[in-house]
C-alpha cells in the first residue's frame, strides 16, 4: 500500500513531531463527522463541542502513541466517545441528556416497509426494536463500549444495560428466525 504524503497516517506522524498545520488538516477532515456522530449520542451541543475540543487536544498530545494500525478515524472516534463518557460521568446524573432526536422522529408505515426492503431482514429487525433497546445495541455493539461505559453514556444502571441487551438479542433472534 502506498501512503500518500497527505494521508491520515502521514499527518498524524507530522502531528507527533509538533506540526500545527498537520493537526489543523486532521481537524478539518475529522471534526465534522465527529461532531455529528457525538451529537447523536449527546443532546447538549455545548458538551459535544467540549468533547471534540478535548479529543483534538488529546490527538495533539497523544499522536506519538498511535500504533499505525487501523483507520485513523476509528482511533479518533475511540478517543472521542471515551472523552464524552468521561464528561458525562463527571456531571450530576440529573442533567444527563438522553439522545432524543431520533426518538422524536415519527417514521411512517411506508417508510418502515421501504427500510425493510432496502436493508433486508437485519435492518428491519433493528428498526423494529424499541428505541431503548436500539440505543443499547448501538452503544455496545456498534460503538464497541463496555457495559459500564454504555451505562454512563445512556444514563441508566449497568444492570439495565445488561437486561436490555439480552432482550434485544432475543428479539433479534426471533425476528431473524
Amino acid at each position: 500500500m502506498t501512503v500518500r504524503a497527505d494521508s491520515d497516517d502521514a499527518l498524524l506522524r507530522e502531528v507527533a513531531r509538533g506540526d500545527r498545520a498537520a493537526l489543523e488538516a486532521l481537524y478539518k477532515r475529522h471534526a465534522p463527522w465527529l461532531v455529528l456522530r457525538l451529537s447523536r449520542r449527546c443532546a447538549d451541543p455545548g458538551l459535544v463541542e467540549e468533547v471534540v475540543q478535548d479529543t483534538f487536544v488529546a490527538v495533539w498530545r497523544g499522536a506519538g502513541r498511535y500504533r499505525g494500525t487501523g483507520e485513523v478515524a476509528a482511533w479518533i472516534w475511540g478517543i472521542g466517545i471515551r472523552r464524552l463518557i468521561d464528561r458525562l460521568r463527571r456531571r450530576p446524573a440529573a442533567t444527563l441528556a438522553r439522545p432524543s432526536r431520533s426518538e422524536a422522529l415519527v417514521v411512517s408505515a411506508e417508510d418502515e416497509v421501504l427500510i425493510g426492503i432496502e436493508h433486508g431482514d437485519l435492518g428491519a429487525a433493528l428498526g423494529r426494536l424499541s428505541p431503548e433497546l436500539r440505543a443499547v445495541v448501538q452503544a455496545t455493539v456498534l460503538d464497541g463500549l463496555t457495559t459500564k461505559e454504555a451505562a454512563t453514556l445512556l444514563g441508566i444502571p449497568q444492570g439495565t444495560v445488561k437486561t436490555r441487551a439480552a432482550r434485544a438479542r432475543r428479539e433479534l433472534r426471533e425476528a431473524l428466525a
Binding site: D8, A31, V35, E49, Q53, G123, G127
Partner: protein
C-alpha cells in the same frame, strides 16, 4: 477493500440534519470510519439551520480556536504542578509559584548552604564538632527568614504590580507566601537534619527559632522593607546566639530548653503584634 458502496447525498444530508433513522445512521457511521470520500462529502454538506447546528462553520471555527488555546497554554512549572497535586486551588498555586524564593535555584541554594553545614558537622571532631552543630542550627533557623525577605515586595516579586492592582488583600498574599516559604525550608532543613551525625532532639532545635524569626521578620516588615527587616532580624539573631554562647560557655545555649522557651514567647508576642499590624501589608509593602 469493502465496498464500492457509498452513501448517497440524501442520506448524508439527513444524517447531518439529525433526521436519519437509527438503523441507517448506524450503517453510515460504520462506513464513515473507513471511507475518506464519504467523510469529505459529509463535511461538505451545508449545515441546514443556524450557526448553532452541529458541525456548522461557526462551531467548527469555535472549537478549533479552543483547541489552539489549550495547546498554546503555558505548561505550569514544577512548583505549580506540585501545588495543584496537593489540591491547592489553581489561582493560589499560580500566585505561590511566582514567589522568587520558591524557584528551583533558590531551593537548590538553600540545600547547598545546609549541605555545607552538614558536611562540616560530619567531618568535624572534638571541640569543633559543637561549632559545626552551632553553625548548622543558626543557618537552618535563618533559611526561612532569607526566603521571606525575597518572597514579595517591589523589585523582587515579578507579579508585584499585578498584585498591587488586584482586588485582593495584600496581607493575604504575604502570609500565604511566607507560609509556603516556611513550609518548604522546614522540609529541606528536616531532610538535612537526618544527615547530621547526632540524630537527637538537638538536630531539630532550629525549628522553633525559625518560626520565631520568620514571624519577627513579618512583624518588622510592617514598618520596614522586607529585605531590611530580614537583615535586621538575621543580624540580631546571630549576635544573640553568639552572645549567649560566650556568656554561658555553652555554644548551643540558645538552643537549650530555656532558649526554646524564649522562642515560644517571641513567637506569641510577634503573632499578637502581627495580628494588629497586618493591615499595613494591605496598604502596600513599605518602601
Amino acid at each position: 477493500m469493502s465496498a464500492m458502496w457509498h452513501a448517497d447525498a440524501e442520506m448524508l444530508t439527513s444524517y447531518a440534519d439529525g433526521e436519519i433513522a437509527d438503523v441507517h445512521a448506524s450503517s453510515l457511521e460504520a462506513h464513515l470510519l473507513a471511507c475518506e470520500r464519504c467523510r469529505d462529502r459529509l463535511a461538505a454538506v451545508p449545515a441546514s439551520a443556524s450557526a448553532s447546528a452541529p458541525a456548522s462553520q461557526g462551531s467548527m471555527d469555535r472549537i478549533w480556536a479552543e483547541v489552539v488555546d489549550t495547546i498554546d497554554a503555558p505548561n505550569p512549572g514544577f512548583v505549580e504542578r506540585t501545588l495543584i497535586a496537593l489540591r491547592i486551588p489553581q489561582h493560589v498555586a499560580r500566585l505561590l509559584a511566582a514567589t522568587p524564593s520558591l524557584r528551583g535555584s533558590w531551593l537548590i541554594a538553600e540545600a547547598v548552604a545546609l549541605g555545607f553545614a552538614v558536611l562540616a558537622a560530619n567531618t568535624a571532631t572534638g571541640r569543633s564538632a559543637d561549632l559545626a552543630l552551632f553553625l548548622f542550627l543558626v543557618v537552618a533557623a535563618l533559611l526561612p527568614v532569607a526566603g521571606v525577605a525575597v518572597a514579595f515586595g517591589p523589585g523582587i516579586d515579578p507579579a508585584y504590580e499585578v498584585g498591587a492592582a488586584a482586588p485582593m488583600r495584600g496581607d493575604r498574599l504575604v502570609l500565604m507566601r511566607a507560609t509556603a516559604v516556611l513550609a518548604t525550608s522546614i522540609v529541606i532543613s528536616a531532610v538535612a537534619a537526618l544527615a547530621m551525625p547526632r540524630l537527637d532532639a538537638i538536630a531539630i532545635a532550629w525549628l522553633l527559632p525559625s518560626l520565631g524569626l520568620t514571624l519577627a521578620t513579618l512583624t518588622l516588615g510592617t514598618w520596614l522593607r522586607p529585605l531590611v527587616a530580614a537583615a535586621a532580624v538575621s543580624l540580631s539573631w546571630i549576635m544573640l546566639a553568639a552572645a549567649a554562647a560566650v556568656s554561658t560557655q555553652d555554644r548551643l545555649a540558645v538552643f537549650r530548653p530555656a532558649g526554646q522557651l524564649a522562642c515560644l514567647v517571641a513567637i506569641a508576642a510577634s503573632a499578637v503584634v502581627l495580628a494588629h499590624r497586618h493591615i499595613a501589608y494591605q496598604e502596600g509593602i513599605a518602601t
